[in-house]
Symmetry: C2
Subunit: 161 residues, 2 copies
C-alpha cells in the first residue's frame, strides 16, 4: 500500500504555478508529485507508470531525476514556509522555488513496479537559496542519492505571457 | 525546422535494450531521443511536448535532465563504438551504457516551444567509464549545462526477466 502524503505543498501553490509537468496539479499529463513533511524530513512518494522503464524491470533514470528535482523544490518551499510560521493547508500561500542545480547518483538499479519514496533533508544556504539532500528508496532499499540547490523563484519568471 | 539526426546510436541497439522511456525506439510512450555524431561532438535534438512545462512558457527541468541523461549514455556508446572502429548504421551492435551520475546546472530558464539541442563532448575516463559534458541550447542560446558519467552496462542488468 502506497504511503499517502496528506498535506502537500503543491496543493497550496496558486493556479499560475500549478502547471509543472512534474508536480503541477493542473498539468493533466504530468506526474503530480506531492511533497509533505514527515517530522523534520520531507517526503514524496511516487509509483512509476508501466512505461517509465530504463530496461524491463528497472525504473528510468530521467524519471528519478524528475522526482528528485520536484521533491527538491517542494522541500525547499516547505522549509521556507515553516520558517515563516506556516504549514501546508493553513491557508497561506507558500513561497515557490526553481532549481538552480540538480545532482543524481545512481547507486544501484531501481526496481520497477513498486512505489519510490524520496526522503529529503533541507538546509538553508541563505534565505533565498536552499539545499535539499534526497535519498530515493524502493522496497526500503536506498537506490539513488540526489541533491538539489533551489532558489526562490525570480519575479521575471511570471512576467512572460 | 528541426535538425534531424540521420544515423542515431539508439537505432542500432538490440530490441532488448530499446525500451528506455527516454531513448528506446520500442517504448511507445517515451521521448524517442536520438543521438548521433556531428563531427567530433554528439548531438540530440528534441522538441518538448506542450505538456513539458515548468511554468507556462518554460520547459520542465526534469525533461531537460532526461535529455541530458540519455544524450549522455548515447554519446558514450557512440564514442566507444567509434573507438572500436564502428559508426552507427554499419551493421554492428553498439556497446550499451548506464548512467552512474548526472549533474545539471540550469543557467537560465529554457523557453518552451522551440527545439532543444544537446551538444556533447565525450571523454574516456577508462575503457568502461566515460564522461559526457553537455550543453543544451534553445534558439542557439545556452540554457543548461550537464554532465553524465556513464559506465558500460553490467551484465547483471539483463539477467532480470
Amino acid at each position: 500500500m502506497e504511503e499517502q502524503i496528506v498535506k502537500a505543498i503543491q496543493d497550496d501553490y496558486p493556479d499560475s504555478f500549478a502547471w509543472c509537468y512534474g508536480c503541477g496539479r493542473l498539468n493533466e499529463e504530468g506526474h503530480h508529485f506531492r511533497t509533505g513533511w514527515k517530522g523534520e524530513n520531507t517526503v514524496t512518494v511516487y509509483t512509476p507508470s508501466k512505461d517509465h522503464l530504463a530496461l524491463p524491470g528497472f525504473v528510468y533514470g530521467g524519471l528519478i531525476a524528475s522526482l528528485i528535482d520536484c521533491h527538491g523544490t517542494g522541500s525547499a518551499a516547505l522549509a521556507l514556509h515553516r520558517k515563516n510560521g506556516h504549514e501546508p493547508g493553513d491557508g497561506s500561500e507558500p513561497p515557490r522555488f526553481v532549481t538552480a542545480s540538480l545532482k543524481v547518483d545512481f547507486l544501484k538499479p531501481t526496481p520497477h513496479g513498486v512505489p519510490l519514496k524520496a526522503i529529503g533533508t533541507v538546509e538553508e544556504i541563505h534565505p533565498k537559496k536552499w539545499k535539499v539532500a534526497t535519498e530515493v528508496f524502493a522496497n526500503d532499499e536506498l537506490c539513488v542519492r540526489g541533491e538539489v540547490v533551489a532558489v526562490v523563484m525570480p519575479s521575471t519568471f511570471l512576467k512572460k505571457d
